[in-house]
C-alpha cells in the first residue's frame, strides 16, 4: 500500500503556519527566509479589488507611490481572474470605458505574456531575438554578481530595490525596469540571471510576465534596449533614494539618455539608435527607449 501524507491545514494563526512551512521547506528557507506582509488568499484580494481607482491609477501608476492595485500576486495564481478585475474596474468608473482604459491595457499585458508563453513554452528562457545593443549574448555574464543580490552596489536605489524584493516579494513595475536595466546594461549580465533572481523572490513571479519583461528590457524581445537616467528615478520616487545617496551627482545614471546610450552601447548600430516613435512596454510601465525624452508628467 502506497503511503501518502496530507499536509496540515489547521493553523491557529499566521505564525503557526509560517513555523510549519519553515520546517517543511528547508530548501526554500535556505534560498531566503523572509516572509512578506502581503497575505495570500481571495479575501485579501477582494479587499484590494474594492480599492481599485482606475482614474488615479492612470495618472500616477509610474510613481513608486502611485495608485497601483497590488493585485499582481493574486492574478498570478489565478486567485482572481483578469475578467473579475476588469469588471470591478469598469464598475468603479460606472462603465465609462475611457476612464478604465489604462488599467485594462495593463491587464491585457498579462494576457499577452500568457499567450506568448503558450506559444513558446520552455523557450521562454531563450533569447527570442538577438540583443540590439551592439553586443552578442556571449558578451554578457552568466551569473548575477553578489553585490547586486545582497544590495551592496553602493547605489541607494538599486540596493533599496534588492532589499525590498528580498524582504517583501514585491517591487513596483518601474523599480523592476530600472533594476533589470542596471543588471543587463550597466553590469552586462544575461537577462536570464536577473530573471531567475526575481523569480525566486517575487510573489507574482511567473516565467511569462517576468522573463518576457526582462527580455524586453534586454532588447531580445523588443526593438532596442530600455535604459533610464537619474532624473527619471528621482522624479518617480520623490527623490527618496537619491537623497542621501553617497553617489548623488556622480552615479552611473547621470546625464542625458543620449549620452548614457553612447557610453553603454558604443557598438550599437545607428539604425537601432534612431528614435523609436511608439515604444511599447515591459513589466508594465511606460519606458524610455530613445526618441523623445519624456518630460515630467504626461
Amino acid at each position: 500500500m502506497r503511503e501518502t501524507k496530507d499536509m496540515r491545514r489547521d493553523f491557529a494563526n499566521r505564525d503557526e503556519l509560517i513555523a510549519y512551512v519553515k520546517a517543511e521547506f528547508p530548501k526554500a528557507v535556505a534560498v531566503d527566509d523572509h516572509v512578506s506582509k502581503v497575505k495570500g488568499g481571495r479575501a485579501a484580494a477582494k479587499r484590494l479589488m474594492e480599492r481599485i481607482d482606475p482614474q488615479t491609477y492612470a495618472q500616477t501608476r509610474n510613481k513608486l507611490h502611485g495608485a497601483v492595485t497590488k493585485l499582481s500576486p493574486y492574478i498570478r495564481y489565478g486567485v482572481v481572474s483578469l475578467v473579475e478585475v476588469r469588471e470591478k474596474a469598469l464598475d468603479k468608473v460606472r462603465r465609462r470605458r475611457n476612464d478604465a482604459e489604462k488599467l485594462i491595457n495593463e491587464l491585457a499585458w498579462r494576457d499577452y505574456w500568457q499567450r506568448v508563453y503558450a506559444r513558446i513554452g520552455e523557450r521562454i528562457w531563450s533569447d527570442q531575438e538577438d540583443y540590439k545593443t551592439g553586443f552578442t549574448a556571449h558578451h554578457y555574464a552568466d551569473f548575477l554578481p553578489e553585490d547586486i543580490a545582497e544590495g551592496k552596489t553602493g547605489l541607494n536605489c538599486i540596493d533599496g530595490f534588492a532589499k525590498e524584493l528580498r524582504e517583501t516579494g514585491y517591487l513596483h513595475n518601474h523599480a523592476r525596469m530600472w533594476t533589470a536595466a542596471y543588471v543587463v546594461h550597466w553590469r552586462r549580465v544575461k537577462w536570464q540571471a536577473g530573471a531567475r533572481w526575481f523569480l525566486s523572490h517575487l510573489l507574482d513571479g511567473d516565467p511569462a510576465s517576468n522573463n518576457l519583461s526582462w527580455q524586453w528590457v534586454a532588447s531580445t524581445f523588443s526593438q532596442k534596449p530600455y535604459i533610464f537616467n537619474r532624473e527619471n528615478v528621482e522624479r518617480n520616487t520623490n527623490g527618496i533614494y537619491c537623497k542621501g545617496c553617497a553617489l548623488y551627482g556622480h552615479c552611473d545614471f547621470e546625464g542625458s539618455y543620449e549620452r548614457i546610450e553612447r557610453e553603454l552601447f558604443p557598438n550599437m548600430p545607428a539604425s537601432i539608435a534612431r528614435p523609436v516613435d511608439n515604444p511599447s512596454r515591459p513589466f508594465s510601465s511606460r519606458p524610455y527607449k530613445g526618441g523623445k525624452k519624456p518630460k515630467g508628467r504626461r
Partner: protein
C-alpha cells in the same frame, strides 16, 4: 449515477471559484507541491507562505512530491474515473497533464479570458496583439 471525479488544483488556479471546483462542487480536490519545481526555480520561503495562505481558503487536500504520481494515487484512493482541472500555458502543466492522461481521463476547464476572441492573435509584438485584442478586452457590458 455520475462518474466519480477528482479535481486537481494547481498553482495557476488558486481561486475557490475556479471552473473545475465550481463544476464538481463537493468532489475531492488535491493540490500537490511540486518539489522539483520549487528547487529548480529556487523559490524562497515568502512565495510558499503566500501560496499556502491561498490554499487554506480552498477545499483541497495538500500533498507534495511528484505531481502526476500524487494526482493518480489520489484518483485511485477515491475510485475516480476522471481528473478535472483548469488549463495553464505552462509547459510543465502540459507535461504533467499528459502523464496523468496516460492512466485516466483529464478534463480541462478554462477561466473566462480577458480577450474573448476565437481568431488568431499575432503575438510577435504587443502592438500587433493589441490592434485586434483592444476591441474584445473591454468585454461586452
Amino acid at each position: 449515477m455520475a462518474d466519480k471525479v477528482v479535481i486537481w488544483v494547481h498553482g495557476d488556479c488558486l481561486a475557490p471559484n475556479n471552473p473545475a471546483l465550481t463544476a464538481y462542487e463537493g468532489s475531492p480536490a488535491l493540490f500537490v507541491w511540486d518539489d522539483a519545481l520549487l528547487e529548480s526555480w529556487q523559490i524562497s520561503l515568502k512565495r510558499i507562505v503566500f501560496m499556502y495562505e491561498c490554499l487554506l481558503e480552498l477545499p483541497v487536500i495538500i500533498r507534495r512530491g511528484d505531481v502526476a504520481a500524487e494526482v493518480l494515487a489520489f484518483a485511485k484512493e477515491h475510485g475516480a474515473v476522471k481528473v478535472a482541472t483548469v488549463t495553464s500555458p505552462s509547459p510543465r502543466f502540459k507535461v504533467i497533464a499528459a502523464e496523468i492522461e496516460k492512466a485516466i481521463e483529464v478534463e480541462l476547464w478554462e477561466v473566462e479570458p480577458l480577450v474573448d476572441y476565437d481568431g488568431e492573435l499575432d503575438t510577435k509584438r504587443f502592438s500587433r496583439y493589441w490592434a485586434v485584442a483592444k476591441e474584445f478586452a473591454f468585454g461586452r457590458g
